[in-house]
């Protein structure tokens, strides 16, 4: 019986959440330190799993399987492959940096971290789940705290609206996917929810073609696919900083990942059949998302829509069903997760001091917070796919996959690169350089040491992957080989 490291990772946050409830609510420092310790522990273990993953051997590793409801074929079955290992690491990193960024929350921090950690448990659970029921179970656990986090701690102007919209969208999406999942359960005749078994279930072609959209789109809603992306920008903007970091950094990856795990891997012929129009929808994400980001005046909405655009790249990478496309999508999920976590952290830092996010009203913040400016510039370069950073490592193979599919799509999608570059340069210039507006002069303090630690961690990761892709790509590649094997029969 090997050390149940994945279970520990999954359940550490929720255990910490319970422990936090035992601390009196006035003891703010103890609450924060406990939260940070738990987050650090989870991040440490997730890094352990990541760096111990044997890319040469491939397949699912660190597997644990226990009976749960055997009469229904439900088991607690977890494991990571090359695609989920980076995502587990991503969650650990975002959790850790999210806690650092949230250090300043003084309105019921205990409850805040409690719900945040329930969310974290849900996310970890989905990434490692190898049982379909378990996946849905953890998925719902991940979605519902979002409502509370946004509605209570979010931006007063739109928080209730955004929280309701987000939660409804995601629940409806998951219900649709659940219907598809149940269809698979009943049709397989195997009386099991175990995904490894279902991978070999040999569903008929008609079955796959019919049910694939249910499953794929049910989950891709969380991935932000056009035209079901609407919940995302409002959700991003209304959420408190750490929640936005989780939302864009991890939650949206959850959607794309589940669409891959349950949709593409279990219904490969359905995927083959439907991919042409999925690519087109994802293409709309990529290009249209970038255009919309360009015209926003609220700093956070720019980033929210840029997430829609970048998630489009993930889904387009999946939809090409090519080796390069999958590799790129896998790296993009990680790279964009880190990058967007950094972006939202920075937005939060600016907003906490300026109390506005309107770009025309900001300016000159580089002098007040130089490290933040540099970190944001690095994030911006990742966003526009600048070589030398992780974004390029991710985007380049996605485009190669598109070339293998339809060259014109690659050419059209490339437009988004220039658009992204121009709006990124614009916001960097408008927010961080230029003259600081009168009312801010002398009132904008630098960020705290904890904030700086979070930013440096995120930047180092993005540069490392960019300069030395071998630190991530081989692992992703081994996961991709597994996916391709399932598609190979098609």
């Amino acid at each position: 019986m090997q050390f149940p490291i994945l279970s520990i990772i999954v359940f550490t946050p929720i255990t910490a959440a319970v422990l936090l409830q035992l601390i009196p609510s006035e003891r703010m420092t103890e609450i924060r330190v406990t939260a940070l310790a738990a987050a650090f522990f989870a991040m440490f273990l997730s890094a352990w799993v990541y760096f111990s993953y044997d890319a040469g051997a491939g397949g699912y590793q660190f597997v644990e399987k226990y009976d749960w409801l055997p009469v229904l074929g439900i088991s607690y079955h977890v494991g990571v492959d090359g695609i989920s290992a980076p995502l587990v690491l991503l969650t650990g990193v975002v959790m850790f940096t999210g806690v650092l960024i949230s250090w300043g929350i003084d309105d019921r921090p205990r409850e805040f971290f409690t719900f945040l950690f329930i969310l974290a448990t849900g996310v970890f659970g989905v990434f490692v789940a190898l049982d379909l029921f378990g996946l849905f179970f953890f998925y719902e656990i991940a979605v519902f705290p979002m409502y509370l986090l946004i509605a209570i701690w979010g931006w007063k102007v739109t928080r209730e609206y955004a929280a309701m919209k987000l939660t409804l969208y995601l629940f409806i999406g998951s219900v649709i996917a659940l219907v598809g999942g149940l269809a698979m359960y009943f049709a397989s005749g195997l009386n099991t929810f175990d995904m490894l078994a279902l991978e070999n279930a040999n569903f008929s072609r008609e079955f796959q073609i019919f049910w694939f959209p249910f499953v794929f789109f049910g989950f891709a809603v969380l991935g932000g696919i056009f035209p079901f992306h609407n919940w995302s920008p409002d959700g991003h903007v209304a959420a408190p900083t750490a929640v936005s970091m989780f939302h864009a950094g991890v939650l949206m990856k959850l959607g794309a990942f589940a669409a891959l795990r349950v949709g593409i891997m279990l219904l490969p012929e359905g995927a083959q059949f439907h991919l042409p129009w999925i690519i087109l929808l994802a293409l709309v994400n990529v290009v249209y998302g970038a255009y919309i980001a360009m015209v926003q005046t609220d700093f956070k909405y720019v980033i929210g829509f840029s997430s829609v655009s970048h998630m489009g790249l993930v889904m387009i990478g999946f939809a090409t069903l090519t080796r390069e496309g999958f590799i790129g999508a896998g790296v993009q999920m990680f790279s964009h997760g880190i990058m967007t976590a950094l972006f939202f952290a920075v937005v939060g830092m600016v907003y906490d001091r300026a109390h506005t996010r309107e770009i025309p009203e900001l300016g000159g913040f580089a002098r007040a917070m130089p490290l933040v400016a540099v970190a944001f510039i690095i994030g911006g370069l990742v966003s526009m796919g600048m070589p030398g950073f992780s974004g390029f490592i991710a985007e380049f193979p996605i485009f190669m996959g598109l070339w293998n599919y339809r060259p014109w799509i690659a050419i059209v999608a490339a437009i988004s690169i220039v658009i992204t570059a121009s709006y990124i340069i614009r916001i960097i210039g408008s927010v961080f350089f230029g003259d600081m507006p009168e009312q801010f002069v002398g009132h904008i303090g630098d960020v705290t040491a904890l904030d700086k630690v979070a930013l440096v961690v995120l930047c180092v990761i993005m540069v490392s992957v960019g300069v030395y892709p071998s630190v991530m790509v081989p692992i992703v590649e081994s996961g991709v080989n597994g996916v391709l094997a399932l598609l190979g029969g098609v």
């Binding site: 390069e324 370069l381 490592i393 070339w403 293998n404 220039v418 570059a421 210039g429 030395y468 081989p474």
Partner: protein, 515 residues
């Protein structure tokens, strides 16, 4: 010693980044310390480059000092470095101009630390392009060089000047120039990016030697189109990206603004090295990958080059802003480089082609030296007078004779006076291109005439004529640091002009083996 010899190129490439890393930890207020660490640090790659030059075996074909490591194996891209005569020349130029420019930047007082860090990162970017033997790696360094340059112009560029953009909004000239530079170049590189992706997919590798073989061996159809069509499109994608950088008329319009608004040392590096990246791209990638397309469209390229020569010279002559005059002179001089390349593409393998190529490559080096010199001298006078308007000067020679002498010397090199370096390269290009593109070469003489005109205009308005009393007692002579900045450039201008064999031999052997 063995370690150095075995990893020479990686050392040259990344020592600037290492020095930049050291600078990060120095206190921002210690400006002198930062400047000296940056300057002395930048001399290390120069020393290594000279070592490389000496140990380079000029008779041997192919690439030397190769290094080959795993990088992005999943898509068949490796960390592959190497030099031949062409890249060696460019490496020498880059490693020479960087310390010169850093020394020239000693007068910068505002945020010295980030300035120097950006400058050193820029050096790594430029060297990476010249040293890279993997197409993806080439692209990485090509793009990454844009970022430091953007910030150098945007943050340390001319403080005066405004431009109006859409909706009547006014922004600072340097903001406009840097944004235009970045987006223009990135937009051009988009075609390069797409073509690179396509090449990687089709050939299954990004390694240049392998790529050259596999890509040129392709036949039949690709993506449902005849291979010739696909290659022609990819050819133009590459050409546009490089043409913007060189710059070839009519893709040059980013240059006057970027050069003019950049800080002095920024302009020195921009004109001295960055433009050469484009020409290098033509030589290293376009000619080997698309020999037939290059020959087919060589006439068009030669036409554009001739226009660059002529219009660049005319535009230069028409300027009142000294810096803008020198900026357009870059368009004019780089036109000769492209003319040489176009001629060589058309008549590949002939002796004339080799001569034209020699001229083109030497012109790349020479223009780097003389343009850096000219921009520096403009900067020198700007720091004293706070104007670049030629009409504000007048008869300054008696007041600043040493500066005057140096300016005339550098200007004559830029003009192509026999005895100085410019003449050698321009003559070689003309001699090589004449039998191949007689009409275009003849037309370019018109450009050459106006080259003389604008150079003389520049000197005359600044140094000669009646003394402008307003400057008496208000303008100081060129100081020792500034002379030291110019010294290596002046020496090279004369040395190459009088005895070019030391560099021409390296170039010639590389070009002769090019086809």
């Amino acid at each position: 010693m063995n370690f150095i010899a075995n990893n020479l190129l990686t050392l040259i490439l990344f020592i600037p980044t290492l020095v930049a890393g050291v600078l990060v930890f120095l206190p921002s207020q210690e400006k002198k310390l930062i400047r000296w660490v940056a300057f002395l640090g930048s001399l290390i790659p120069l020393a290594l480059a000279i070592f490389l030059w000496i140990n380079f075996n000029r008779g041997q074909a192919g690439f030397q000092f190769e290094e080959h490591f795993v990088w992005y194996a999943a898509i068949n891209s490796t960390y592959h470095l190497g030099v031949d005569g062409l890249s060696l020349t460019m490496v020498l130029l880059t490693t020479l101009l960087t310390p010169v420019s850093i020394l020239a930047s000693y007068s910068i007082e505002d945020r010295v630390k980030p300035y120097m860090i950006l400058f050193l990162l820029l050096e790594t970017g430029m060297l990476g392009v010249f040293l890279s033997l993997d197409l993806l790696l080439f692209f990485v360094f090509w793009e990454i060089g844009l970022v430091p340059m953007y910030f150098l112009i945007n943050q340390w560029g001319s403080e005066k000047g405004e431009r109006e953009i859409w909706g009547g909004r006014k922004i600072q000239a340097r903001t406009y120039a840097s944004f235009k530079f970045m987006i223009y170049t990135m937009g051009g590189s988009l075609g390069l990016l797409l073509a690179t992706q396509m090449l990687g997919v089709v050939a299954g590798t990004f390694d240049m030697p392998l790529l050259f073989e596999r890509w040129t061996a392709l036949s039949g159809a690709l993506f449902g189109l005849p291979i010739g069509t696909v290659k022609a499109i990819a050819f133009w994608a590459f050409v546009v990206a490089f043409a913007i950088k060189v710059p070839v008329w009519p893709f040059h319009t980013w240059l006057p603004d970027a050069h003019t608004e950049a800080p002095t040392a920024g302009s020195m590096i921009l004109a001295g090295v960055l433009l050469k990246l484009g020409a290098y791209g033509f030589l290293r990638l376009v000619l080997p990958l698309y020999p037939e397309e290059a020959r087919f469209y060589a006439g068009a390229l030669a036409f554009l080059a001739t226009m660059a020569i002529i219009f660049g010279a005319f535009a230069s002559y028409g300027q009142d802003d000294f810096k803008r005059l020198v900026a357009y002179s870059s368009v004019n001089h780089m036109g000769f480089v492209v003319l040489g390349i176009a001629a060589a593409a058309f008549a590949a393998g002939t002796e004339d082609a080799v001569i034209a190529l020699n001229g083109a490559v030497l012109q790349m080096f020479n223009h780097g030296i003389s343009a850096a010199g000219m921009f520096f001298l403009v900067g020198v006078i700007y720091e004293r007078t706070h104007t670049r308007d030629l009409n504000d000067f007048g008869g300054l020679f008696p007041l600043i004779p040493v500066y005057g002498g140096i300016l005339m010397f550098t200007a004559m090199a830029s003009l192509g006076l026999p005895g100085l370096n410019g003449f050698i390269s321009e003559f070689l290009v003309v001699r090589g291109a004449w039998p191949i593109f007689t009409v275009y070469t003849a037309l370019s003489m018109l450009g050459l005439l106006f080259t003389g005109a604008y150079i003389l205009k520049g000197i005359k308005k600044t140094l000669h004529g009646p003394l402008n009393e307003a400057w008496m007692g208000r303008i100081s002579e060129i100081n020792l640091r500034e002379i030291i900045v110019m010294a290596p450039l002046l020496v090279l201008m004369l040395w190459i002009g009088v005895w070019p064999a030391w560099i021409l031999d390296v170039i010639n052997r590389a070009m002769a083996m090019f086809f």
